[in-house]
């Protein structure tokens, strides 16, 4: 039995038949077993609701409505994991490690701060013993620094 933590992009690709990544995600879902478990972070809801608010503000009512329906589809099908505080110490270590490595590579401070959500998702996965599934390469970079993280890109 495998336990996965889906990043927000995965269900969005499933709901978008025109996405070039739709087929790959579908095929991977078809290979899963009944006993496999799929989770999502509650943070995915935060960012999806933010997207809904932005669409409403820009007058894109239909996309806002569809985004709300996607949120319902996610809530109905996947187990949402709350933040409990248990992941905080892993987050701290991970961010410090990434910051240190980025400085050595002379990356700008900006590149560090934009990954806080990714670090939280990665540390949640480690805390619960889940494999992160995403099409975002940041998780591969985190894994290189933090080998405890299990990561798969299904695309």
């Amino acid at each position: 039995m495998m336990k996965y933590l889906l990043d927000t992009n995965i269900p969005l690709y499933l709901e978008d038949i025109d996405s070039p990544f739709n087929q790959a995600v579908q095929e991977k879902f078809q290979q899963l077993q009944d006993e496999d478990q799929l989770f999502m972070s509650v943070l995915s809801l935060f960012e999806l609701y933010y997207g809904v608010a932005l669409r409403k503000k820009s007058g894109e009512e239909q996309l806002a409505e569809h985004s709300l329906q996607v949120i319902d589809a996610i809530k109905k099908r996947f187990t949402l994991l709350p933040l409990t505080g248990k992941e905080a110490s892993t987050f701290g270590e991970m961010k410090a490690l990434y910051k240190d490595r980025s400085k050595k590579k002379e990356n700008k401070q900006e590149t560090i701060k934009k990954h806080d959500i990714d670090f939280i998702i990665a540390s949640t996965a480690i805390e619960y013993g889940l494999v992160v599934v995403s099409n975002d390469t940041i998780f591969q970079r985190i894994k290189e620094l933090y080998p405890d993280l299990k990561f798969e890109n299904w695309i």
Partner: protein
Amino acid sequence: MAQKRLTITLPGSAEALHNALQMLLQYGLISEKKAHSIEGKRKHEQTRKKPGKKSRWAIVAEEMVQEGLLRGKSEKLLESIRDFRDNFEIPAPVDKTVK
């Protein structure tokens, strides 16, 4: 002396079966080889019994594809998600040392 025969109804789900076999192994009621053989046999039976049966996750994927709520719009939503992540920061601890 005649050996007593133990009859146990093994559970249906793969996980429960695995746990039951582990318990039997722990108490020395079954050999490791036998446990492997039972698990393998059950797996084979389940595959054989249900040719082409879709897993619940295959069904979930089909449902979501059929809903097609975001036709050609997933990238637009992902942009707002990236915007959210780019602007989200847990501030670094403030140094409150009195100098």
